[in-house]
Symmetry: C2
Subunit: 334 residues, 2 copies
Amino acid sequence: MEDKVLMAHGSGGKLSHELVKRCFVSKLNNEWLARMDDSAVLEAEGRLAFTTDSYVVTPIFFPGGDIGKLAVCGTVNDLSMSGAIPQYISLAFIIEEGLDICELERIVESIQSTAQEAGVSIVTGDTKVVQRGKADKLFVNTAGIGRIAPDVNVSGSNAKPGDAVILSGTIGDHGMTIMTQREGLRFSGDLASDCAPLNGLVAEMLKVCPDIHCMRDPTRGGVATTLNEIASQSRVGIIVEDAAVPVRPPVAAMCELLGLDPLYIANEGKLLAFMPSDRADALLEVMHHHKYGKDAAIIGRATAEHATRVTLRTRLGTSRILAMLSGDILPRIC
Amino acid sequence: MEDKVLMAHGSGGKLSHELVKRCFVSKLNNEWLARMDDSAVLEAEGRLAFTTDSYVVTPIFFPGGDIGKLAVCGTVNDLSMSGAIPQYISLAFIIEEGLDICELERIVESIQSTAQEAGVSIVTGDTKVVQRGKADKLFVNTAGIGRIAPDVNVSGSNAKPGDAVILSGTIGDHGMTIMTQREGLRFSGDLASDCAPLNGLVAEMLKVCPDIHCMRDPTRGGVATTLNEIASQSRVGIIVEDAAVPVRPPVAAMCELLGLDPLYIANEGKLLAFMPSDRADALLEVMHHHKYGKDAAIIGRATAEHATRVTLRTRLGTSRILAMLSGDILPRIC
């Protein structure tokens, strides 16, 4: 077989079928893909969550992950943030002609191992190829379906005044990793993306606190933008204590050097949760026992005053408004 | 607001939110998008079909449709080919920086009117922006969910020896339309893509013949490739009568001129169906009353002999093997 992706791999003909069998069906091996039908047939009941995201990150391989791991984690996390148990994922590639097939295979292997960790199946897919110069190596889309338990009701609109705001760990790791890779910056600190599937952590959290009001993963736009979305959707004010926000030293150092605020830097394995404040300590304890929640912290609270506004209390004791990201600090972070 | 898509429209920040509200939520107006959560929450029960496709067609506007209409039809049709009733669609854009926002709006309007015709809702979405020269105007991904009625069991593996093969109408219209647009060819015949949502036609078909064994839409690779897939999955032989295959005169003329075989040219509003031959006439009659089935014809039959092989009986009375497409006649057709 060829060692580069050719236009004919996207023709729908003979080479497409060979690529699908060699790279996808064999590695993602499951009953749905094996049928080779236009759709996967699934069993479902009750409330489902349904979500989609495309991934255009560059470079496609980076410390802590790659575009494939990112795509599975992103969709697993979006489902989890709705309180759903992720089950089924679709996978669509747009490939630039000339991509090394061994790179594609590495990405599919990473997709499969991430799917296994998250307990989801890649049940349907698609492959398109475009000419050299008409894409950038590889774009990936994943859509996902998850099941929502009857007693769960999580939404960006459900945050309530008085809620505690928990952040599941350190921020800025993904964004600063991509930036150093792309700009060829070399620092002593060991930076790696935090890219991780959060459904296991969320399941533990919902067990101890089924009345979590709101969860969201602070990806593009960072914690500041995500909190603004929630403040606006739920019509609450939010006060964040800067000193309570965990940032790893190498991330903090690089942000300072480059004049960036970690609150605006993307994360791919973190979540924000709003819940009644009397449950926050119990929730934190559970989170601290999970590998993706060990640095979890209460970083603030929701208020009835100043609805839709996010306020940062600085380490100096002053306050300032934390606006939504404007402009684009770092394109193609995910 | 800006009149071109900027990198910051993909940042996840302020401009992303403005774009999503102005171009997507307002035009695709429904309860799921209005919530602005990471996932849409849906009610479901029983067997579901789940599918995905990315669209990279160039040009993005063409006679008979555009990349948005194509994306909705493609996913509606993939669901329909599994015997499912399409219900929910996700929509993800990868936009090249500099795209006219009014072009994007036209495409979203086309998506909405196609979704309305098909009776589906666009319930969740995503937008990414990549730098100039890193994509080609616009790529679209749609994934879809449909409900499968309890008595329906349609699969590419279910064709049986003796089955009649029905084609729902003329072939090659989509492929030859894209080719003429791209190459700037001007012919007297009025060519237009056949791009259409087939779920209405399929619903009528399943009413009169719930035991349809297999359906598939002959898109990339055309009728010849799709029949090879079915022959291989179902382990049957298939005999096709060339004279029975409907081709519109301008498509036939252009194929002859360019030395192409319409059996390998892509369609976007046609289906192939396999069913017990004693039901074929009743099915044809129903199809002829539907706007997307009025040229439907029995084009062949499945056999126990020569399993996995597709044979074409030519107008001259000779036979030849009809192989799967090899190479790529026309890239980026969908």
